[in-house]
Symmetry: C2
Subunit: 394 residues, 2 copies
């Protein structure tokens, strides 16, 4: 049996003592993957590295990492690899149900080499994939189950072995804390972002005519940034800058903020200070992109903007993007002293502003989006929350 | 030499091939400590676990973990164990200076078994400790040096061996990402906390008569919480609740917020809503302690407070603490229509309020602090930043 299994899959026999050399090789591999896993706090990266390793040490047709959603008492997953990926994407499994659900509840690893004979097995979701065998190992961090690694159908061999189980258990011991840390980091970030949103929106409530402005400007900005090909980190900074673009209004008197008429020159001068106040407020974030996004979203390419009168090449990209988003939303929203413009009219104004007020590259992205019906308040709303969703359940 | 060293310290000879059994035992130990280290994102815990392990695998008179301060271009440390601890606490070392500084700069581990003969050695700081030998290994995360593990003077043997160096290198490979993650987590938290402070203080600027109120209430609250024996996590929640206790004023009109006279009943009614607005704003933090601290800091033990009219046993501790801090600061601060009370008079009012308005246990803590001269705006100011300092340099 040892020989047969070794020839087949490199897996040792159940219960057999491993040769020290093989054991050492396994530890070396664990050591390597442990360092890789702990080298990032990014949730998706941790999960993808984990599946890569799982496939490497224990070939299976499909591998997935299920995470426990404590509140909903069910399991979901973000990443899945292999043949059944399509069929199970988006699935949620109640805690205690099926084989994965019962592993999550008991905290005990299981190998089921003939799922058909297991009363807990509910059958495959519709699709071509047929599950024969399951290996499921709980992920336990600080004494609590936080998820399950699941492999379906061993490749090039009949059944999952004791060796497979042992290797996946050792791996789960390394993966669980890495996953937990990435989840905590993401949760902390998500709390921060939603608190910032809630503050920005609370401020907005003082001026009923701008209700929803922050959310739309965030959404429009992300639409534009995405269309311009910004990466994930850049989109995150843009999200934060757009959310906080008007936070400096916290320091502007109500009588100016909520004046039901155009501002006189002195009032306008005071109002302009919101850019500088805002930049002061976000200084502790120590994020230069966010800082300039907040400070410079009212600059103009011709140097006639504020607060710094920057000219074309000096204006940071984030500020240019927020400027287009902000201008479009201001034009399409009604004020007590004027009605909002229809989208088409506002779009024509945006196009006309390219090169003097607004950045032609951003306006080009706006044009592509607008002309294909993708630059709408509804689309913006869908986009505004997108960026920090992956931090929790998908 | 192999025999001699094995007998002495269990360390293998330089360059010698390890027996697989010993190598396995080392990997098993690394595996264990790796799991422990990755099981926490708390910086101090990571560092303490690390020194414990370093001592275990490589006995030395003193061990320390230096962290690189990128901005100041120097090294500092938070934890140190062993005989020289007293002498080197609080030291900072410029990058490139001394042996640790040069290891941090080069990124290459070093054993110096006779420091006296090394031209980089500056001598020991004043004190009884005498350094003979140093083993210093860089901590490298994502290609950059983030610190150095340092051992001074091997115990029960003459010199640090190649085996010591090898084991510490392997250990550093595990420690570096764990330390980096804990630093990132702490930095993210610190950014969040300072951003929250900057927002709370920006709001305060609208009302010059309350300038410094947030900072003092935070400091007083932490003084009280510390005196009452709260743990670190509870103090963190209290810090956040006190910082945000008035954040709901973001939704109160300026004419009420800054009225240079006592409020009439209608205005007072509007003003009271800041507790409910504040609770709404902090809801995304998903922290019940912070939520009730913000919502209920104007409750009274006799049920005559707001917004919920809670009675004695229902009022959460954080809200009781903030109530004393807030009341004391309000009484001792001048308003346009009345001068602030001297501290002694305000303290008498606080004592008189115990049992009806204020919680007797909190008032007792206040009394101990006040009577020993520890309840002052200056002490509060020193305390207000204390809690999130450990997140960065000490």
């Amino acid at each position: 049996m040892i020989a047969a299994e070794s020839a087949e899959s490199g897996a040792p026999a159940p219960g057999a003592l491993l040769e020290p050399a093989r054991q050492l090789a396994e530890y070396e591999m664990l050591f390597e993957v442990g360092i890789k896993l702990s080298g990032t706090l990014d949730l998706t990266t941790v999960l993808e590295l984990a599946l890569e390793h799982a496939e490497h040490v224990c070939q299976a047709e499909t591998s997935s990492i299920w995470e426990l959603d404590e509140e909903r008492r069910d399991l979901f997953f973000r990443v899945v690899r292999g043949r059944a990926a399509g069929a199970i994407r988006g699935m949620r499994l109640p805690l205690g149900e099926g084989i994965v659900g019962s592993v999550a509840l008991s905290g005990e690893a299981e190998v089921v080499n003939d799922v058909g004979a297991d009363p807990r097995w509910h059958g495959d979701p519709a699709g071509a994939f047929q599950t024969r065998a399951i290996l499921a190992v709980p992920l336990i961090a600080l004494g609590s189950v936080i998820g399950v690694v699941q492999l379906l159908n061993p490749v090039d061999r009949d059944r999952f072995t004791e060796g497979d189980l042992r290797r996946m258990r050792q791996f789960a011991a390394i993966l669980a804390p890495a996953l937990q840390n990435a989840r905590l980091y993401a949760a902390q970030r998500r709390q921060f972002l939603s608190m910032v949103t809630s503050l920005a929106e609370a401020l907005e409530k003082k001026d009923p005519y701008t209700r929803g402005h922050v959310r739309r400007v965030v959404g429009y900005s992300i639409l534009l940034g995405d269309e311009m090909g910004l990466g994930r980190d850049e989109l995150h900074d843009l999200w934060l800058a757009a959310t906080l673009h008007d936070i400096g209004k916290i320091g502007i008197p109500d009588r100016i903020l909520g004046k039901p008429a155009p501002l006189d020159p002195d009032e306008a001068e005071v109002m302009r200070r919101h850019t500088v106040f805002g930049a002061e407020i976000v200084t502790p974030l120590a994020n230069p992109q966010v800082l300039v996004g907040v400070r410079n979203h009212h600059e103009r390419l011709d140097g006639k903007g504020y607060p710094d009168g920057l000219r074309d090449p000096e204006i940071p990209l984030g500020a240019r993007i927020i400027a287009v988003a902000d201008t479009f939303d201001a034009m399409t929203t009604s004020r007590p002293y004027r009605a909002g413009l229809p989208g088409e009219r506002a779009a024509a104004e945006i196009l006309a502003g390219a090169g003097t007020q607004l950045c032609p590259r951003v306006v080009a992205a706006f044009r592509r989006l607008f002309e294909t019906g993708r630059f709408t308040p509804e689309a913006a709303d869908g986009f505004s929350g997108m960026l920090f969703e992956p931090a929790l359940a998908p």
